[in-house]
Subunit: 200 residues, 2 copies
DNA sequence: TCCTACGGAATGACCGTTCATTCCCTTATA
DNA sequence: TATAAGGGAATGAACGGTCATTCCGTAGGA
């Protein structure tokens, strides 16, 4: 929930807000929640400690706001250029490739989301995602359709998601941490391998 | 590193030590590191707060000790009844199935390890694992052999591990949290799917 | 009596949050 | 234009609480 604030439009206030967000994103991504106390976020953003509370109710509010925005950007990226009427494999490869490309270009966003998922809210968030999955997002639809057409193995959505997205996120982390070196050819191979896991 | 202690052998002291370990394991697994302060661990173990420091140098020492032991148990379980001279697929299915069965029987151990991996030490530990991978554990050997025989896709070990173990651990967590319900048939299907991801 | 294990209050560091104060920009007035 | 007043934005020292760790008095066995 945003805190009501006099100047929402693109003026100095918005700039300051963005500075806080960026500082928090970086610190949490690089040091974890432990390594991102409010005082440090404020210092990195170049504002006073109290100023943060003019823009966000409390730390939870700040963290959740960042998470929501980062997640939305993930979906946007996967939907950009999505071949809506192409065959299932093409659509899936598009999603996987777009996701991996984005994650390795925005390592802070990946690390932040991972930190978030492994925290008290993380479980609640996943529960909501899985059980509240009545809303028809395009990716869930694609998976459902592929199961119905007997292209995918007849498994629950949660399992199919783990088979496909789990390894992709893992290798992005390994790339960011310098354990492996991803390039376009390798990304294609790994996405292909994840496809193989899903295929009937 | 254990702290030197007069009575190491199976007497009352060892019992008390185990109580501390069990309490810490449960609290960290269920509440995360934040929710497992030393005072709470002591209370749950039924000992004084200071007593913990007679058995472990500090909290880090305690946590690392538990992690090391839990991880060793994972390997033990995967190696129990390992069909060393069977075909690659049989050996891999054995490992995957044994791991999943163990993890869903010991949810605390899985949750603890996940908490550990997402913490400051987590990255260091993984770095050590990947770059210090000169030691020939049986599982790495199996993967190397399968690549050499062109049974697996020609990918780095870290990637193959992510493709195989990543989804397996994910679905165990989902099972523990009640999001899905694993049974023997389903485990077999999922392990089979992970095999498909690796297969050339 | 000596020595070791133990408990739990005490300690000091640190964290999120608050709030009295200051700063600065806008507006009103002459 | 010059000046004063008003008010929202920003600040950072201070507060209350929590944490890991230490310290010291006590109990019990040799």
């Amino acid at each position: 929930m945003d805190k009501t604030h006099k100047c929402d439009k693109s003026d100095k206030c918005a700039e300051k807000r963005d500075l806080i967000i960026q500082a928090a994103l970086e610190l949490v991504a690089e040091q974890g929640f432990h390594g991102a106390p409010m005082a440090m976020i404020a210092e990195k953003a170049g504002v006073g400690a109290g100023t943060i509370y003019r823009y966000f109710e409390n730390k939870d509010d700040l963290i959740r706001w960042i998470y929501k925005n980062v997640e939305e950007r993930f979906v946007e990226v996967m939907m950009q250029g999505y071949p809506e009427h192409g065959p299932v494999r093409e659509r899936l490869v598009h999603i996987g490739t777009a996701l991996v490309r984005h994650l390795i270009n925005e390592p802070l966003q990946l690390r932040f989301v991972e930190q978030f998922h492994n925290s008290p809210y993380g479980v609640d968030h996943r529960r909501e995602k899985i059980f509240g999955q009545q809303k028809k997002d395009i990716i869930s639809e694609l998976f459902h359709e592929a199961v119905a057409q007997q292209i995918f193995k007849p498994l629950e959505l949660a399992i199919l998601f783990s088979l496909f997205f789990g390894p992709l996120v893992d290798i992005c982390r390994d790339h960011i941490l310098g354990f492996i070196k991803l390039d376009d050819a390798l990304i294609e191979q790994v996405v292909g391998a994840c496809w193989d896991a899903l295929r009937r």
